[in-house]
């Protein structure tokens, strides 16, 4: 208070500092808002509720994977196997959810409650993830290699299990990916719109993951390992077990994403989700997760996924060719990392 410096100078410097800190922290949100506004003005269809729900529905699968991948990257790891694990879980789950009288049924006449394919998909995901974690933690295989192996192995098993699409799925199963609840959002001239189940699944998982990362011992251990693995070990953390847990969760979420995707498209296919792991990694990185570990948030990753989703959707609406879309997407990812590097300097 008794400073000799004129108050307005103090205020200015304070404001600038505050402003810089704000920009640094929320740069990615601002970019998202800017894109959102731009798409709104550039196209008529973008702001339609149905289209916006479509965007979120589309990102829900990548979003689920990206949440797991974010945790993995926070530990300085990587997971390349999520797309393949998703497909493996999807074909197994779908084969247990076919209509019993379907002409091409894998198990003709089989009737099981819908919980069975759900549990099977989650279990397959969990198992694949735990194997990844075991290879990394116990056999000291670099995460890149271990999950690259799992990527091809899981895809191979998916192809062996079903060399053609497993379709004719029950309505109950398809409800997971196609259903809506709370059909109350009014749309002029059309039946009211509800909230799609995949969006609810994504929201629940994202909130759960956020709470886990910030408010549980396990979550803080994940950050600690990424911040300095050696220090974490000396602080008494069971680094190996924590890593296995993280990869297992990432696998579990891939399995969940397999349920959502197969039920949304109404069939389980071994060729599902090729390259989704890269979109998931991109979402995490755009959202500020640092590949050097210790830094990353779930909300950042969701924004990252939304940016990719809005970009895909907007460029489609603008009739930009698919080839240009890949170029634009790739450039944005690189620019995001450059911004991130500068931020951490």
């Amino acid at each position: 208070m008794a400073s000799a410096t004129p108050p307005q100078v103090l205020d200015k410097s304070f404001n600038r500092e505050w402003f810089n800190a704000f920009i640094r922290k929320y740069a990615i949100v601002l970019i998202f808002i800017a894109m959102f506004v731009a798409m709104t003005f550039l196209t008529d269809a973008f702001l339609q509720p149905r289209n916006l729900f479509n965007v979120v529905r589309q990102i829900s699968v990548v979003g689920l994977i990206a949440i797991g991948v974010t945790m993995v990257i926070i530990t300085t790891g990587i997971d390349l196997s999520s797309g393949s694990v998703l497909a493996l879980a999807a074909v197994f789950a779908a084969s247990l959810a076919q209509q019993p009288d379907w002409h091409d049924a894998k198990y003709p006449g089989l009737v099981v409650p819908v919980i069975v394919p759900i549990v099977v998909a989650l279990a397959i995901g969990l198992l694949c993830g735990a194997i990844n974690g075991g290879l990394i933690a116990r056999f000291k295989i670099p995460p890149f290699i271990a999950t690259l192996g799992m990527m091809t192995v899981a895809r191979g098993f998916a192809l062996i299990y079903s060399n053609r699409p497993v379709s004719g799925l029950t309505d109950t199963y398809n409800f997971i990916g196609q259903g809506e609840i709370l059909k109350v959002i009014p749309i002029p001239g059309q039946p009211p719109l509800g909230i799609p189940i995949p969006i609810i699944i994504l929201a629940v998982v994202a909130i759960g993951a956020h709470i886990m990362l910030n408010n549980t011992r396990f979550g803080r251990h994940i950050y600690a390992i990424g911040g300095n693995e050696q220090a974490a070990l000396i602080s008494g953390l069971n680094v190996g077990r924590i890593k296995i847990g993280v990869y297992a969760i990432a696998g579990l979420l891939s399995g969940l994403a397999g349920l959502v995707l197969s039920s949304r498209v109404g069939s389980g296919q071994a060729g599902l989700a090729v390259g989704y792991e890269l979109d998931a990694i991109a979402s995490a990185v755009i959202g500020g997760t640092s590949l050097s570990g210790g830094i990353g948030t779930i909300w950042g990753t969701i924004i990252g996924a939304l940016i990719i989703g809005v970009l895909n959707n907007g460029l489609d609406l603008l009739n930009v060719s698919a080839y240009w879309q890949t170029i634009i997407k790739g450039s944005i990812i690189v620019v995001a990392v450059i911004i991130d590097e500068r931020k951490n300097r």
């Binding site: 709470i211 408010n215 549980t216 011992r217 803080r220 251990h221 950050y223 600690a224 990424g226 911040g227 300095n228 050696q230 220090a231 974490a232 070990l233 000396i234 602080s235 008494g236 953390l237 069971n238 640092s290 050097s292 570990g293 210790g294 830094i295 951490n344």
Partner: protein, 509 residues
């Protein structure tokens, strides 16, 4: 500068954040001599030599080499001037051959710009033959023993045809036979007019090989004397002979029963047969030169390294410690030597850094309780006087002293009975240092048992109730506080405990 000097160093100063490594150092080296450079850990020997090698640039001062004033910006420039250096830490490229390592960056090329492997190997063979080193030029570096790796480094330094070769503790990794071989090489280099600066801790070597000896202490030049006009005792006095200027407030604490007993701890090749007791309320100082095995001893106790034999008895119970988690469960805490490498988690906030080892304390029904965490942070902040704007501040943005206090707090929050502090005040400012010393006294009074490793003799002497001196992986001696002097510790650390007779002899000189 006289004609006979190859190198003249004038008023060289160099500071690192928080430390003045060299202040106004002057040194002249005669052409064609072997000049030994001695001093305690942290005396500034390596810093001075790294300035000559172009790795550091001095803050001020002048270097004159071969009669010309020079600035040495990088190692390349040093080599061009004719200065090459053998570093203390070996840095071989493991999956390349001996020849490729020696001639890295100056490989002989064939007409088409490809590496002429035949010539490369032939040159290497000739070089190794000349030096009578029996190593195959096409072996991979990773297949060589440590001693042979060291010999390759030496051959590499010689291969530059330098007129000045700096050797930073070249014998730390080799056996006696190879030392003799190395000394032969050094003498024949000297015969060819090459000048050698030889850094070592080993008294024997100095008197075997050196013409002149320079002693540095606390970044200052103490003396340069011809080897024939001095002796071990005088050298040790010169190396440690400083006043205890700082006050170390080890206060009297009641010393209780033995809480930790280590029997014949051995880790092959590094630590041999180390035994000691630690009592409640006691501060046990561990002194010794770099590489004497101090850190390995305590890291083995803490479950970081496997031990080959020996037992650890905690509060009368033989205890198996396989991991740091086991150690913590048994009431141990370890503040590691390298704050950055094994201590802080730089990109994480102060809160995580402080509480990572004690998270179960803040759990309620499976979730971390924010209020409890904040209360703990506030309590620790005022207890240790940690200067941090908030618990969300990234720890890497704090000063070294405050980072260290956060780490001390990390361990105190685990409520340990036995606190092991490895160089607890290295690289932190005087104020924080004094606070950590005060805290250590207080903890001892509260009944904690403390082990402190330090390379600073005044700190060891000021803080310790007893002092264990390590020498080449073994216990070189254990001194009671009242019996310990800088000289006696330095002698135990260098393996030159002088008997009464020798001391008598010195007195009469």
């Amino acid at each position: 500068m006289s004609e006979s000097d190859i190198l003249l160093i004038e008023n060289i100063s160099k500071s690192f954040p928080g430390v003045k490594a060299l202040s106004d150092v002057n040194l002249s080296v005669h052409r064609g001599t072997i000049h030994a450079l001695m001093g305690e850990n942290g005396a500034g020997k390596s810093t001075l030599m790294k300035i000559l090698d172009g790795i550091y640039t001095p803050d001020s001062g002048q270097i004159t080499f071969q009669g010309q004033p020079v600035t040495i910006d990088n190692t390349h420039k040093a080599l061009k001037l004719g200065i090459s250096m053998i570093h203390q830490e070996l840095s071989p490229i493991p999956y390349m051959t001996v020849a490729e390592n020696i001639y890295l960056g100056r490989e002989p090329l064939s007409r088409f710009g490809m590496i002429d492997k035949r010539k490369l190997n032939a040159n290497t063979k000739a070089l190794l033959n000349l030096l009578e080193i029996n190593i195959n030029p096409t072996s991979l570096m990773k297949d060589l023993s440590v001693a042979n790796t060291q010999m390759v480094e030496i051959a590499k330094a010689i291969s530059y045809d330098a007129s000045l070769i700096i050797m930073d503790e070249p014998t730390s990794a080799i056996t006696e036979r190879e030392v003799a071989h190395l000394f032969g090489m050094i003498r024949s280099l000297k015969a060819k007019g090459v000048t050698i600066i030889y850094i070592t801790h080993k008294m024997d070597e100095v008197f075997q090989i050196a013409d002149d000896i320079t002693v540095l202490r606390d970044g200052k030049h103490v003396a340069t004397v011809p080897a024939t006009q001095t002796n071990k005792v005088r050298l040790i006095m010169m190396m440690v002979g400083r006043e205890l200027t700082e006050m170390f407030p080890k206060e009297v604490a009641p010393i209780g029963e033995v809480v930790l007993s280590v029997h014949n701890l051995t880790r092959a090749g590094v630590v041999e047969d180390v035994s000691f007791d630690l009592r409640r309320g006691e501060i046990l100082g561990i002194a010794g030169l770099m590489g004497a095995g101090r850190t390995t001893v305590i890291e083995s106790i803490f479950g970081i390294h496997k031990i080959n034999s020996g037992e650890i008895i905690i509060k009368g119970k033989k205890t198996q410690i396989n991991s740091p988690a086991d150690a913590i469960k048994n009431g141990l805490a370890l503040l590691t030597e390298d704050r950055k490498l094994t201590g802080i988690m730089g990109v994480l906030p102060v809160r995580d850094n402080m509480m990572i080892a004690s998270l179960p304390n803040y759990e309620k029904r499976g979730f971390l309780n924010g209020r409890l965490i904040e209360a703990t942070y506030k309590q620790e902040k005022s207890r240790l006087d940690i200067k941090s704007p908030s618990m969300h501040q990234l720890i890497k943005l704090l000063s070294g002293g405050n980072q260290q206090k956060v780490l001390v707090s990390r361990w105190l929050l685990t409520s340990p009975d036995i606190l092991i502090l490895d160089e607890p005040t290295r690289g932190i400012d005087v104020g924080a240092k004094a606070e950590i010393h005060r805290l250590m006294s207080k903890l001892a009074q509260e009944g904690k048992a403390i082990i402190m490793i330090s390379s600073e003799l005044p700190e060891i002497l000021g803080m310790s109730d007893r002092i264990l001196v390590m020498h080449e992986g073994k216990v070189g001696g254990i001194f009671e506080r009242k019996d310990a002097t800088q000289e006696s510790i330095m002698q135990a650390a260098t393996g030159h405990g002088l008997d009464a007779h020798a001391r008598q002899e010195e007195m009469t000189i």
